[in-house]
């Protein structure tokens, strides 16, 4: 089985998951990888493992380089099962001298695998371990995106093994950023940030600042999913800086669901209004777009218009589900507006506004409700709402 030497005596020994299409609600149309890294030195170190069902891939790759029993340390940068699922069996084979993890890592490993007898070795930010020619420095990255998360940095190689940060769900036979289509790579990195990291943006900003302050030199970033950044690691660091500020890019979304096309007609009129202001707009029908693709667009949009008819005094279920998903990820720094048709009581606009207020969006209009089917005058109002959103987005983006 193929292995890849990413630096002298440091190998990628992970697994490619070509078939995964749903990662607990995140659509992974491009598959994924579970990256693990093996460093040969006086002490042999394995960084993370793979999802349980890919244990043999990992072992095959390790065995083609070294007898697994020669591994001295396993570093657990992240306890989530896609990186730790095969740990119990791997530990039985390797019998490592140390399992290196953060304080929260030890707690979480015990809560997952119930093994008090493993040789845990807890490290904190600033700690380092000498492996011979090389050193591993540890940087705790709590809640980026689990309490146990940490980075491993190898100064002699200027290599940052970054756990779940800077990753992408992308199955490929290539391992490096310069070997794949850059547009595809950056889209998948944005989708990953939008659906996994958005909520932890304050932690990202803090981390990026502390990495800058520490003055560590990075010429390669090796995440736990997807492609390794060797051509231009600053590209993904800069992108994280932008995404973590939820900066918009003169872009607005009209996200809607519809029963009998009334809300859809309103959505189109709103989108036309936005477009007339020279702002990039996307019309997103929730019945044909996956929530995680929608979130990918939310992250760099400045304006969000939400449309739903009223069903049984509430929202249509797809809109309610999307709102639950978006609220959990807590995007910020957006303008919001709502619209929707109704038959009798018409609660949807109120509910949409409430949800956007909870996310601290700046609501730019009280919203537009229409009984049954919009007429020409109502569609004109929708168009005006779109124009206002377009103006706000343009002005807001120019200020940023």
């Amino acid at each position: 089985m193929q292995t890849y030497e990413i630096k002298k005596d440091i190998y990628w020994v992970g697994a490619v998951d070509w078939g995964i299409r749903d990662f607990h609600g995140y659509s992974t149309y491009a598959g994924s990888t579970y990256n693990a890294y093996l460093m040969l030195d006086e002490k042999v170190v394995l960084f993370d493992t793979v999802k349980k069902e890919f244990k043999s891939d990992l072992l095959h790759r390790i065995r083609s380089i070294i007898d697994p029993e020669k591994i001295d340390y396993i570093v657990v940068n992240h306890v989530e099962m896609d990186h730790s699922g095969s740990l119990p069996e791997i530990i039985d084979i390797i019998k490592p001298e140390k399992i290196i993890c953060s304080t929260m890592g030890e707690k979480n490993l015990k809560a997952h695998f119930h093994r008090e007898d493993w040789p845990y070795h807890v490290v904190k930010t600033g700690d380092s371990i000498s492996c011979g020619k090389r050193t591993i420095q540890f940087i705790e990255t709590r809640m980026l995106h689990w309490p146990d998360s940490m980075f491993s940095y190898i100064p002699e190689e200027k290599l940052l093994i970054s756990s779940d940060a800077f990753g992408q769900h992308l199955a490929t036979s290539q391992r490096f950023d310069d070997e794949v289509n850059e547009t595809v790579l950056m889209y998948q990195a944005q989708k990953y940030y939008a659906n996994i990291i958005t909520l932890y943006s304050p932690q990202v900003r803090k981390l990026l600042k502390s990495v800058k302050d520490m003055g560590i030199e990075i010429d390669m970033i090796a995440p736990d999913h997807g492609i390794i950044w060797r051509k231009d690691p600053m590209k993904i660091l800069n992108a994280y800086e932008d995404w973590s500020h939820h900066r918009g890019c003169k872009k607005a979304l009209v996200i809607y669901d519809t029963m009998w096309h009334s809300t859809e007609m309103m959505a189109k009129a709103v989108a036309d209004g936005i477009e007339s202001q020279g702002v990039n707009v996307q019309l997103i029908d929730l019945s044909v777009n996956h929530r995680s693709d929608v979130m990918t667009e939310v992250i760099d949009s400045k304006g969000i218009c939400l449309g739903s008819p009223t069903l049984n005094n509430g929202l249509l279920p797809r809109m309610a589900g999307f709102l639950m998903y978006m609220k959990g990820l807590r995007p910020t720094n957006k303008y919001g507006a709502a619209f929707g048709s109704y038959g009798w009581s018409g609660e949807s606009v109120k509910l949409l506004n409430k949800a956007m207020e909870e996310m601290k969006f700046e609501i730019i209009h009280e919203g537009i409700r229409v009984k049954y089917v919009p007429d020409h005058d109502t569609l004109k109002l929708c168009n005006e709402l779109g124009k206002k959103m377009g103006e706000m987005v343009k002005a807001g983006c120019e200020r940023e």
């Binding site: 929260m104 705790e140 709590r142 809640m143 309490p147 932890y200 304050p202 932690q203």
Partner: protein
């Protein structure tokens, strides 16, 4: 006394309970927690907490 909620992970600091894992005695007001106290669940710092009625 006022409870405070971690805006990162949702943990609620209840002064009546304190935080055993950091040696914080019951009856300690949030304001009196040491500056280097962090959320026992996720490690967020004090400025990530907001008052809550939960």
């Amino acid at each position: 006394m006022q409870k405070y909620k971690c805006q990162v992970c949702g943990y609620v600091y209840d002064p009546d309970i304190g935080d055993d894992s950091s040696g914080i005695e019951p009856g300690t007001a949030f304001e009196d927690l040491p500056d280097d106290w962090v959320c026992p669940i996720c490690g967020a710092e004090k400025d990530q907490f907001e008052p809550t009625d939960d």
